[in-house]
Amino acid sequence: MSDRKRTAGFYLLAGFFGLYVLFLYGPTITIAVLSFQGPNGGLTFPMNGHSLHWFANLFQPQMVGDFGGSLERSLLLGAMVMATTVVVSLAAGLAYRKRFKGDTPLFYLAVASLVVPSILVSLGIGLMFGQSGLDTAWYGSAYGAQLTWTLPFGLLIMFAVFSRFNPSYEEAARDLGASPWQTLRHVVLPIIAPSLLGVALFGFTLSYDEFARTLLTAGEDNTLPLEIYAMTTNITTPVLYALGTLTTAFSFVVIGSCIAAVLIIQRRRARRAA
């Protein structure tokens, strides 16, 4: 259809797409605006003046729970989950380029990991730790719980990458006498680097925002999403929006840097090829 003139259908569908994007981002933009409410403003419009009052409020420990501590834990946990997801998914992706015994069950286990209801994973890990006398903690049980969510995504991305990976580059490296490790390090990894950045992005953001699987596995100290959830039940001021806006802005910065990094790599490559 691409070589024909734009039809009425195109404009109709483009309008639908635009409305969807509005639906997708509208609410987030709304709370971003409302987080700048004046000190007497409420949870809905109209704006009652504008100020940074609610953002300042966020950093006063008595107003919200343990914001700083939970943020720190979430960032650390996100980094841990990200690193693990990249390494483990890459290794598994490489394994799936060959045949190995048990590849089918492992594949279905990965799919199951995505579709098993999160609260079940949370409950199961909680019970397992409880029954074996281990303490749940964000860096242990919650870390494992989050991996069950991020690793399948990492693996699926690796499948997509290697399904269109041209093996003749590796063959060329091998013919020139490269060891398997050298081939991986100097040929495969540079080629798939942008995709690995994508896996890292999934690993970090999905961990940073994870709630359901972390709920029963985080132990005594909350992660940020758990803290936010606790706030929703007892806080009725725009400080909630300020926190939401801040974490969303942070996510956008992470996503933006990731996309920028991919673009830079690709541009550099195009220049080198030219």
Binding site: M1, S2, L13, A14, F17, Y20, F23, P27, T28, T30, I31, L43, T44, F45, A91, A92, L94, A95, Y96, R97, K98, F100, L106, L109, A110, V111, L114, V115, V116, P117, I119, L120, V121, L123, G124, I125, L127, G130, Q131, A145, T148, L156, A160, S163, R164, N166, P167, E171, T205, D209, F211, L216, P225, Y229, Y241, T247, T248, F252, I255, I259
Partner: protein, 317 residues
């Protein structure tokens, strides 16, 4: 995103050609490479599910789990009217969300795959739809409050336009709000698999259909939809599984007005009735896996998800 038109059929996987010299090495390496993934799933998915099944047969009192075999948890669960009403309500949420995400996700993918011409634009627009998925779900739910509330934007707009005279009460904290939020959060899971399927449709098939005299709706119905079947199946699995197990959306968006299986489990857990929650979890797992088994019949999801690239048109873009 695979941008190359690939022919239907062919081998199931792209496998690097092996030389005999490296054969044994590669073979052994595969096990080492797959082992970490297998270990994580074993420790944090398989064992926990085993733990749930075991505990679902345990007795309990108000403070602790008593490791003594009993069928009481299942008897209480299966013979309670509340259980089945809650399951029915959850099915209702799942069905409504599934239908809405399917229509919206399919339409968006169709636009992206067949109407957007440049690859760069396709990537940019699909990225635009993906970015919110990388932000917090809870924040995205909270974000509906100023929009749907009694004094929210929607009510104000409708009153100002003279469509209604009094603010609508049912917008926030209702089944409507729950389904709206579920669609808002989960359309991504429907859209991306369908888009991937559509991108693999050989464009010459569509040309052929058109040359044979098919009109646009006929092409859609007889070519595009059947060839997007796998993507639709994968999207459906995601959406149904996510909604069936949801509790946070239902809790936040209905503020306790609606019930769902996940919420029922969460309530048991908060009362420390772990064996009751575990029995419920087993029932939910059986139902969800049963539904998924029904969806995947006749669809090769493995081939779709492992990115089989028939015809060997591998490239490094």
């Amino acid at each position: 995103m695979s941008t190359l038109p690939v022919a239907a059929g062919g081998t199931a996987r792209a496998v690097a050609p092996r030389t005999h010299r490296r054969f044994d090495f590669a073979r052994a390496a595969a096990y080492f490479q797959a082992a970490p993934l297998a270990i994580v799933f074993l420790c944090f998915l398989v064992f926990p599910i085993v733990a749930i099944v075991v505990v679902s047969f345990f007795d309990y009192d108000s403070v602790q789990i008593i490791p003594r075999f009993t069928l009481e948890n299942y008897r209480e669960l299966l013979f309670s009217k509340v259980t089945w009403e809650t399951y029915l309500n959850t099915f209702r949420f799942a069905a409504m969300t599934w239908a809405a995400t399917l229509v919206v996700g399919f339409t968006l993918s169709y636009f992206l795959a067949f109407h957007v011409r440049s690859t760069l634009m396709q990537i940019a627009l699909s990225l635009l739809c993906t970015v919110p998925f990388w932000t917090s779900n809870i924040i995205r739910m909270i974000s509906w409050i100023p929009f749907l509330g009694r004094n929210g934007l929607l009510n104000m707009a409708l009153v100002r336009l003279g469509i209604i005279h009094q603010p609508l009460e049912f917008l926030l904290f209702s089944d409507f709000a729950v389904v709206l939020a579920l669609v808002h959060l989960n359309t991504f899971f429907m859209m991306i698999p369908i888009f991937n399927s559509m991108m693999r449709i050989d464009r010459s098939l569509i040309e052929a259909a058109r040359d044979a005299g098919a009109r646009a709706p006929q092409v859609l119905w007889n070519v595009v939809i059947p060839l997007s079947k796998t993507g639709i199946a994968i999207g459906s699995i995601f959406v149904i599984a996510l909604v069936m197990g949801d509790f946070i959306t239902v809790r936040l968006m209905s503020r306790g007005q609606s019930a769902s299986v996940g919420l029922m489990m969460a309530n048991s857990i908060s009362l420390l009735q772990y064996p009751a929650a575990a029995a419920n979890a087993v029932l939910l797992l059986i139902l969800v896996l049963g539904m998924i088994a029904g969806i995947v019949r006749g669809v090769d999801i493995r081939r779709e998800l492992t990115g089989a690239n028939p015809g060997g048109t591998a490239t490094n873009e």
